[in-house]
Point group: none
Chain length 185, copies 2
């Protein structure tokens, strides 16, 4: 596993993040928390100035650079966008001998944890007559009055929870004769 290890980076604790790792930025939970809050507040594409400020503030929690903030918003926005869709295709199983009984997922809110997929974009949902949603529901003001940043000390809160449970439907276990054909492509 260490084969891909960077030769110049100290592998610090993954959970902590306080250890100033080199290589790529590893946000602390606090940083993520703030960034997420900002995002939820409506901030989507922070200006250069905002990025600077955010970065400065977040530096309190650990090593961070402006570009990290910039990238974070870019990625978060992009992945959130093409992701918040419903479910995974749900492939309309055409399994002859398979009842879809266990398959009672309301294709409304199926469980699933696939968040932010690089470019999985179109794999999601089939029909979506999304009412138009614009990008500007957040003009310039990002509600600066949100109460963020504990001015002192650290806040501890247990992280690492398993929020989403993925109730899976039964599995298909049947081995069709192993005959391969790739002609479908």
């Amino acid at each position: 596993m260490d084969e891909g290890m960077s030769a110049f980076c100290i592998k610090a604790s993954a959970a902590d993040g306080t250890g100033t790792k080199c290589g790529r930025w590893n946000p602390t939970t606090e940083q993520v928390k703030v960034l997420t809050e900002l995002f939820r507040s409506g901030l989507r594409t922070p200006s250069t100035d905002q990025i600077q400020k955010i970065s400065t503030q977040l530096s309190f929690y650990g090593k961070i650079e402006s570009k990290n903030v910039f990238y974070w918003f870019q990625n978060h926005k992009a992945r959130e966008r093409q992701k918040r869709r419903k479910v995974s295709i749900s492939v309309h199983d055409d399994h002859r001998n398979h009842n879809h009984d266990l398959h009672h997922h309301q294709h409304k809110d199926v469980i699933r944890r696939m968040d932010k997929i690089s470019s999985l974009k179109h794999f999601v949902e089939v029909n979506h007559h999304h009412q138009q949603v614009y990008d500007h529901y957040q003009p310039e003001r990002v509600m600066k009055t949100l109460q963020l940043f504990p001015l002192n000390s650290f806040e501890e809160y247990s992280e690492l929870e398993k929020p989403m449970i993925r109730s899976m439907h039964a599995n298909h276990d049947h081995h069709p004769p192993l005959d391969l054909r790739l002609s479908f492509l």
Copy 2:
């Protein structure tokens, strides 16, 4: 985002060959076989459409989602490259190394005046150690004539939509109270 992902799923009923459970996708040997074959055929970055088809076909062998196919190719490609590089570096590297200069984030944060959106250009100055390994050693001859899968049935799939849509999520319920302070913006 929620980092505590990975749905916690019982891995009930395993042992029975194809006892796929929940949690993360556990490809069957047949699925892996097909995927590997596709890869060997030259497929490296399947398009959305291809992923869809592959996924559909593979669903016959067991539970699978498009994203699984997507990830599979991403990982497979990346890891092969990774190994390739490792070997290449240690062996091919004539001792005339160029002083492994670490990532010197000598970024100077040239936050210039950006009217609208912030461009990364202002945050990133250096840090270009790209190598972009030879990625072309395998063209694109996916040899569709491989004998795999009964070429029967469905082939055409409805086009879902175009990637250009900017479907923004519309279900962002109003931010719950969270004591943090964003006043620095």
